[in-house]
Amino acid sequence: MNPDLSVQLGSLQMKNPIMTASGCFGYGLELTDLIDLNELGGIVSKSLTLQKRMGTPPHRIFETASGMLNAIGIENIGVEAYLTEKLPLLSQYNMAIVANVMGNTLEEYAAAAARFRGIQRIAAIEVNISSPNTKKGGMHFGVDPEMTYQVVRAVKDATDRPVIAKLSPNVTDIVAIAKRAVDGGADILSLINTLWSLAIDHWNAKAILGNVTGGLSGPAIKPVALRMVYQVSRALPVPIIGIGGIANLFDVIEFLMAGASAVQIGTANFYDPTVSTRLVRELGDYCAMRNIQKVSSLIGSLQIS
């Protein structure tokens, strides 16, 4: 039996549900020695800003139990360099290429997204809404329903591609935020981004990260992510990409059951760089073994009595 692994998220079609997450896979070309990118359903770029960004001072990484903290500060080469240096090379591979965009104002978000207009190889624009809004005193767009609406709307109006809103978990009511993202024009939701965190060097009474606070990721956050995917998928009819601590086959299955139509592999790429394509193969084997003809039949199959 050759199971059908393809998934359809609105107009975004992928040959399987395994994607790599923004910021966790470089620009996609660093791993070509180790894996065949053609096996992936899709990849998401590092968050791209209009101008290149230097990022935050060291340290940027700290390991915690079953996870890690990071504060990279959106170091990236900028949209133009991505288009000229990375996209032509990535375009040789048969997978969905998603551009993740970010800015500090609505105008910056819109301008970054607009640069991908008419570029057929960009399958979708993912909006990183976990950015401080410099016009609102640095409050993060994604923690406020109205700011979420505005930023998604700004990107939607600027692009001709499907829009994925990547939601922050650092909110009281994820469903309220998700609703406003959809109202703003999000075709797909991806969740979750990292959990806002702090690590302390107790010997010196100092913060470990150069940026003081950072984002927690890895298997430690998986139950939070599963819960949020479950809540949002039950509340809204929008396709969802599940993200959060996915490191093995059963994590993938569980996110599909909770209501995700696809998943993104993040932190696991760092400590297990061949994990993403291995999961594609394992998912195929699993479906064959369980006699599941279409992987899409798993989506939202969680039974709550």
Binding site: D33, L34, K46, E63, G67
Partner: protein, 263 residues
């Protein structure tokens, strides 16, 4: 041809050299065949519990063409777990990664190691010898019982000069004082290669600039992935046109000319 491999490598030997210092040998012929001195591997034990990230270990030696040797100290949970692995267990080992020390034929090589930063030099000195370069090796440690590879470095060097913080072996003081003394006598066609703690690297950089000698510094920063996908290991530096930048320790380094890094 791939430039790196991710292998499950069998541990052949894992011994404590005294205190927190350990030496581990694993069977990894594919990586051993490609390894150049100064490169590193990202390592974790096969079963590492809730410690997920790999640790960067510089390659201390390639033995018999198929064994990789690493020297390390137990610092946190990851290295403690590795120290508890034994022969027959496996390490998950990705490598070889990063750049290597450039060899300048006909030069006088001055090799400076501090603490566990001595790790890449048994391998590097051996390769220098193959190029008919016999380095002067400067090796600093806190005390005599924290010195490793002394016999091997002695064999692979024109001379081995030791300094300890407490005076229990060699010069009582910093290894950089020995380096500066020799350069004061004659800078010649010297090239400095250094790996060690931050304060030592800062002094090596200033000595190199004072005597107008090129220096290659093997830098260190907490790493997430080792291959440039997490962008988590910034080394503050300057670009050739004088702009501030962050280099990535894993991908742009770990070895940098002293003139491009800010320490």
């Amino acid at each position: 041809m791939p430039t790196k491999f991710d292998l499950r490598a069998k541990i052949v030997e894992n011994v404590c050299l005294g205190g927190k210092y350990y030496r581990i040998r694993v069977h990894a012929p594919e990586i051993a065949a490609l390894a150049r001195p100064g490169q590193f591997c990202m390592i974790r034990p096969e079963y590492s519990g809730d410690s997920l990230l790999r640790r960067p270990f510089s390659i201390a030696s390639v033995r018999d063409g198929e064994l990789l040797e690493f020297a390390y100290t137990t610092i946190g949970v990851g290295t403690r777990l590795i120290s508890r692995s034994g022969p027959g267990d496996h390490l998950i080992c990705l490598g070889p990664l990063g750049n290597s020390f450039p060899i300048v034929d006909g030069s006088r090589a001055l090799v400076v190691g501090g603490g566990i930063g001595v790790a890449p030099f048994p391998f590097f000195n051996r390769v220098l010898n193959e190029h008919r370069i016999f380095p002067i090796t400067y090796y600093g440690a806190r005390s005599a019982d924290e010195l490793i590879y002394v016999e091997e470095l002695n064999q692979l060097s024109q001379s081995l000069k030791i300094a300890t913080d407490n005076g229990t072996a060699g010069h009582h003081g910093f290894v950089t004082q020995l380096l500066a003394q020799d350069l004061e006598e004659s800078p010649g066609e010297s090239v400095i290669y250094a790996c060690g703690p931050h304060p030592m690297m800062r002094v090596v950089k200033s000595i190199a600039e004072r005597y107008g000698v090129p220096a290659y510094l093997s830098m260190e920063e907490t790493m997430g992935c080792g291959i440039g996908i997490c962008i988590g290991c910034p080394i503050p530096g300057v670009t050739p046109d004088g702009q501030s930048t962050y280099y990535l320790c894993c991908k742009d380094g770990p070895i940098f000319p002293s003139t491009v890094v800010m320490i």
